[in-house]
């Protein structure tokens, strides 16, 4: 039933369409005939409008032309030109429209824009050094190459003119974030205060700067309060250890009122808050950091020391960056190698250019694996890494001495005293460059000088001590014991006293 209806419908539609086609054909033929007649008539006529010669067809008077035959623009002359007979314009109008005058506003805008472009390109070129170093610094920072980033940002800053100092806010922001990661609290607080106004700190893009500054001011206030507490004690003894620990415990969660450079602890005698002070809370992480110092000073067990260090690191990201190298080295010392290794990896993730990572890995090779050659290789790769930092020549003496000492200790374990002596000499010269020679470095250098028969150097070192007015202390007991044959270099290398942590 349904199909039948459909078929009927299609038949009707076809008939209707055929009828329409027939009518259309008749009309079309009729129109064509009429059109041919008109053309024949026009071809036999000649006309001229206002002296304008019409080249197509034959002339008509202006009155005889319909609106569709007149120029669209002037409305007076007939349409079409020599080149384009079907043009809606006459020749004169077309010539005018081809050269339509520019709008002066557009022309002025174009001239000004070209001028601005020239000035902009020149201005950009003057900024290229700052921009390039900042881009490279940011790239290095994102790749966790913090020392390279530091060098690049410093280079960028060195290209800023004196009168523009403090105007490149994003550069200072990046340096603040970097210094936070490099655990340079003073630079962070000083840069944030110097370059960022209170209004700037409220801007969303500088929210990090404001937060970091607040966090570090809190830490600084906590440190000042703790130092006040500890200032009352000249030394830590068995008698006052519990008392100091109790006082440090009591600081937890206490409020600190800061106004300018003044700070007061909650409940301090003679102090009443005025409401104008900024209020901070004692930072537990820093309290734990001082507890660590206390237990270390009191000569407590290394496990207790590691416990407090660990608590300090857990309480603050900033302190974790500061404490992790020390904590991982302490873990190596107490035989918790897995924890040490995990922390070393964390250190490397934070900063691929960290010397501390190489130090811990080298210690692990020596203490756990007894693979002294691997320890040496690790140190050499660390020193090469420092040397490869662009413009980072200062890093080698500043940080390289740690690795030179590790290398020395590994060579001692291999009984390669000649190489050990060369390493100790390198370590000593690095420290001498920074005018800060530690007792361990000097002692080790002296002992290896004796071991290799370089008595001249030993005497020079002895004289140096006298020059510094240290003859009372002289070399440490390790040197004396070594000279007396009471201790070997290998025993000293594995004692932990020369790891420079």
């Amino acid at each position: 039933m349904k199909d039948k209806n459909l078929n009927n419908g299609a038949g009707d539609y076809r008939e209707e369409m055929e009828e329409l086609a027939r009518i259309f054909k008749e009309e079309l033929d009729k129109a064509r005939e009429e059109s041919e007649e008109t053309v024949e008539t026009e071809e036999n006529q000649e006309y001229e409008v206002e002296g304008y010669a019409i080249t197509m067809g034959e002339s008509k008077s202006k009155e005889e032309l319909t609106e569709d035959e007149l120029c669209e623009c002037c409305g007076e002359r007939p349409r079409g030109t020599e080149k384009n007979p079907s043009s809606p314009f006459c020749s004169e109008c077309e010539a005018i429209l081809e050269k339509y005058p520019y709008d002066w506003k557009g022309a002025v805008a174009a001239i000004l824009t070209v001028f601005v472009t020239i000035v902009a390109v020149i201005s950009f070129a003057t900024n290229v050094p700052i921009f390039s170093y900042m881009i490279e610094g940011e790239k290095a920072y994102n790749e966790h190459n913090l020392l390279s980033a530091f060098q690049k940002y410093n280079k960028a800053l060195s290209h800023i003119d004196e009168e523009d100092d403090g105007k490149y806010l994003n550069l200072y922001e990046k340096r603040i974030l970097l210094n936070y990661d490099l655990v340079d609290m003073d630079s962070v607080v000083s840069d944030a205060g110097k370059y960022f106004s209170e209004t700037a700190k409220k801007m969303p893009m500088y929210k990090d700067v404001a937060e970091i500054e607040k966090q570090l001011i809190n830490m600084q206030a906590t440190v000042l309060v703790i130092q006040d507490v500890l200032g009352a004690y000249a030394d830590v003894t068995d008698h006052n250890y519990d008392e100091i620990m109790g006082k440090l415990n009591a600081l937890s969660d206490k409020k600190i009122y800061v106004k300018g450079s003044e700070y007061h602890l909650e409940g301090e005698e003679g102090f009443t808050p005025t409401g104008k002070e900024e209020i901070y809370t004692c930072d537990d992480a820093w309290i734990n950091m001082y507890k660590y110092s206390l237990v270390q000073y009191a000569g407590k067990d290394d496990k207790v020391i590691a416990e407090y260090l660990s608590k300090a690191a857990e309480g603050s990201d900033y302190l974790a960056k500061l404490v992790n190298p020390l904590l991982s080295a302490t873990y190596v010392g107490i035989g918790e190698y897995e924890k040490a290794e995990a922390l070393a990896k964390e250190i490397r993730e934070d900063n691929k250019e960290s010397v501390d990572y190489h130090m811990v890995v080298s210690m692990l090779s020596r203490y756990r694996d007894k693979d002294y050659q691997k320890g040496i290789d690790t140190c050499i790769s660390g020193l090469n890494m420092l040397a490869s930092i662009p413009d980072g020549d200062d890093y080698i003496p500043q940080m390289g001495y740690i690795l030179s000492m590790q290398k020395t200790l590994n060579y001692i374990m291999l009984k390669d005293y000649k190489s050990a002596y060369a390493s100790a000499k390198e370590c000593y010269s690095y420290q001498a460059e920074t005018y800060s020679i530690s007792v361990q470095v000097r002692d080790m250098y002296a002992m290896l000088a004796l071991q290799t028969g370089d008595t001249e150097t030993f005497k020079t070192l002895e004289e140096e001590i006298k020059e510094y007015g240290e003859e009372a202390s002289g070399f440490s007991s390790d040197v004396k014991n070594y000279r007396d044959g009471k201790v070997t270099l290998q025993e000293l290398a594995m004692s932990g006293g020369y790891d420079l942590i």
Partner: protein, 184 residues
């Protein structure tokens, strides 16, 4: 015509004026008849000029490409300075840099031809029997113009050019440090 289009064109008036100027320039160079070339008119023709239908390949390409090219080059060069100083370096005290940032965004917002001109380009290049090599060469530009003209109609190019301004320092950062190192 969308109100957004006129608002965006008004907000980026210098770029719109420049586009219409360059469009006019290309019309004159290609002997295309121009009916109306006002640089400032607050209607759908803002940023464009009124010209006759173009039935030749060269002129229809010029009318689409020349304003696009000039606005793009000038806009990018100006934006290099504005975006680097304001967005990347954070130097907010320089009024000239703010002008550059605005002008750059304004020029890049007004890159594309009118959709009618793009259709004309298609008509002249992609009809049956046209040269296949020119079809291949023009096809990518046609695609860019077509999408750009559509986006511009809805004012989306303002957003894309602002996003581009934020990306500019990082685009420059891919080669400027190497170029600087090479010259140093």
């Amino acid at each position: 015509m969308s109100m957004v289009y006129i608002i965006v064109k008004t907000l980026t008036l210098p770029g719109a004026m420049l586009h219409s100027f360059f469009e006019h320039m290309s019309c004159r160079a290609s002997k295309v008849l121009v009916d109306d070339a006002r640089a400032v008119q607050f209607n759908e023709m803002l940023g464009h000029i009124d010209h006759e239908l173009i039935k030749r390949k060269g002129p229809s390409f010029d009318v689409c490409f020349i304003p696009f090219f000039f606005n793009l080059v000038l806009g990018f060069l100006i934006l290099c300075h504005g975006a680097t100083e304001i967005i990347y370096l954070g130097r907010y005290d320089q009024w000239f840099s703010w002008i550059c940032l605005y002008l750059g965004i304004s020029l890049l917002t007004n890159l594309f031809p009118q959709i009618e001109d793009v259709m004309m380009l298609k008509e002249n290049f992609f009809q049956k029997g046209k040269n296949p090599i020119s079809k291949i060469l023009v096809a990518p530009l046609y695609a860019i113009f077509f999408v750009g003209a559509r986006l511009e109609k809805w004012g989306v190019t303002l957003i894309t050019s602002i996003l581009f301004a934020f990306a500019t320092p990082y685009i420059l950062g891919t080669f400027i440090p190497a170029v600087y190192e090479w010259f140093r």
